[in-house]
Amino acid sequence: MSAEATIDQETQNAIDVDRAKGDFHFPENHKFDAGVGLSTDTINYISDVKNDPDWVRAYRLKAYETFLSKPMPTNWATEDLNNIHFDEIRYYLADGQKPMRNWEDVPAEVLETFERLGVPEQERAFLAGVEAQYDSETAYSSVKEELEKDGVIFVNSTEGLKEHEEIFRPWFGKVIPTGDNKFSALNSAVFSGGSFIYIPKGLKVKHPLQAYFRINSENFGQFERTLIIADEGAEVMYMEGCTAPKFESTTLHSAVVELVAMKGAKIQYVTVQNWSSNVFNLVTKRGLAHEDAEVRWIDCNIGSRLTMKYPGVVMKGERARGEVISIALANDGQHQDTGAKMIHAANNTTSNVVSKSISVGEGRATYRGQVLIPKHLKGCKNNTECDALMINSNSKTDTYPAITVRGNQHVTQHEASVSQVSQEMLFYMQQRGISEAAAMSLAVNGFINDLVSEFPMEYSVELKRLIELEMEGSVG
């Protein structure tokens, strides 16, 4: 990419530092490989290997047609999408093992991968359950015994659709229909892995459940599919993390995540996305909030070449609440195209969007927001704040907020700001003995400080560290 050519090697090395942790891979050892390219044969191969029920196979094949019929959204999105070559991607790679319940049973190199990423350690420290996906399938899946006894289901999507069809099927593809966009259609055609979670009525899960998505193979597309259902009055926090080694070729990650919060339920979905800089991260995420329910997306995008992600909440029941808290850091060679979608579909519903983006060097951050409040409703509220921080004059930031409010019985508020780390601020900090890089990192951490506190403690520490490392690389 041209952007990369403009920064010197030292800077480039420093930028890559934070991915050193995830930048390793093992030789491939896949029993099942759907080959390169996409056709109905690919889809039938996946369905055969996974032993899909007929309805799932039919669903996939129909989705494939939808995928083909939809144009690439370059009429509004970046032309860089044209650099995704669907016929060069491998869509399914797996070793044919079922997810293991114990780390000891996980294949040695997969175990080593997740150990290096610190997943088992975090599980012991503070998680109620973990799912670890390696390429197309889940390698490890475990939930604390007492939660299982309480009726919590935490399995991968394959197991969800087969073993829990009665809960899974009524909601699958209902929050995000296949044809929502080209990439949701692609995911619906070739999905594998991802989580299915069900939290029974009234159960408040104290510790977070976590999924970790790992890409090990080159020229590969990961298409996990997640469906989380919190029954009436239930509460759950789900966290996802992701890394991939840095390959020369591009890698595609295209997930679909659907959340269903029944009456009075509360779902918080936390993402720390740190893909390597060759990954196209094109993800569709949406939650459905019933009466008095709350869906919160807490989203941080640091990695990837291009991320397009606009988590949404459809507030279907009265007094439902939706929230998106998002942080994006676009360094050289990166484009973070993120935002939020708030669809008010009942009276007295409330939504809140707080987005902060940081563009460094040639990095580009785009905010796209959509808030819809139809005319027949009353008492709806939306608050949207988007703040951008630019570090050096090459940075680019754009904001496209679309707030459609019909009727006059609503309250909406929109604030946007663009700021720079000023020379005077840097001089002041440096005069106190703080190096330019450390000053930059302090300024950036200060800018997002109020949002970082929304992340669980273990993640916020990691987040601050990642940003420090990114900033070290951003100053000459």
Partner: protein, 251 residues
């Protein structure tokens, strides 16, 4: 052991501002620079600190014998120079406690960490001298601070960083008499045989509370007169009109 400025010339966008400044601040002494607006007082402080808006065309600044003009701003700070700003910058979202801690941390060898308990103990005791509320530690650096709070915060940072040479740029401006007394208490507590202090001020008032050993008058980019503390009183009485008479020789 002193901060020595020799024949310093500096431009901003090709306009000469400093036109041959000579000044020596030995450790243990307090010097004051007075002078009319636009005489180059604040520029001198920024040039010493290393602000890159200024181009140094000739001369030198040395710290205990070491030339510092090639050092970066942060290196000069760690070498022992502290500048209390006339208009301190805001650092949104960064708490005072974290900011000062980062500055102290920057002075430690790699891998060494500040002892948090000792740090807060020290911070609180210095805040007590300056009569600052404990809540101050959690507020973002200078954000929403009143003029007096900003100046007190500068002195607090100075006390915490324990520099060898302090430059106070119009620290008295915008302070009411009570705040001025408190700030002066902080500065006086910093007076030491191991530290040199340079105060830049418009008004003699500050010098009632922080008594200087020497007073210099700056005009048109040069030090034009040097005397004892009584010089400040003379200036207070007769103003800078004498400068126009041309009857002065360079100090």
């Amino acid at each position: 052991m002193s901060l020595v400025i020799k024949d310093l010339h500096a431009n901003v966008e090709d306009t000469p501002i400093l036109k041959g400044v000579n000044l020596e601040i030995p450790k243990g002494e307090v010097h004051a620079i007075m002078g009319p607006n636009g005489s180059g007082k604040s520029t001198l402080s920024k040039v010493i600190a290393g602000h890159d808006d200024y181009e140094i065309t000739s001369g030198s600044v040395s710290l205990d014998g070491q030339d510092i003009l090639d050092l970066d701003v942060d290196e000069r700070s760690r070498a022992g120079i502290f500048l209390a700003f006339q208009y301190p910058a805001e650092v949104p979202g960064v708490s005072n406690a974290n900011f000062i801690r980062a500055a102290l941390q920057a002075r430690l060898p790699k891998g060494e960490e500040i002892d948090a308990v000792a740090y807060y103990k020290d911070l609180y005791s210095k805040m007590d001298v300056l009569e600052m509320n404990r809540k101050f530690t959690a507020r973002a650096v200078n954000e929403g601070f009143s003029g007096g709070e900003k100046k007190r915060n500068e002195i607090l940072q100075m006390m915490m960083l324990d520099p060898q040479y302090c430059i106070l740029d119009e620290t008295d401006s915008g302070l009411d008499i009570d705040a001025l007394k408190i700030v002066a208490k902080g500065v006086n507590a910093m007076r030491s045989p191991d530290r040199g202090i340079l105060m830049i001020t418009h008004y003699q008032r500050l010098l009632d509370y922080i008594e200087p050993d020497y007073v210099h008058v700056m005009a048109d980019g040069q030090i034009v007169k040097t005397g004892g503390k009584e010089l400040a009183l003379e200036l207070e009485e007769s103003g800078y009109d004498f400068l126009k008479d041309g009857g002065l020789v360079n100090a």
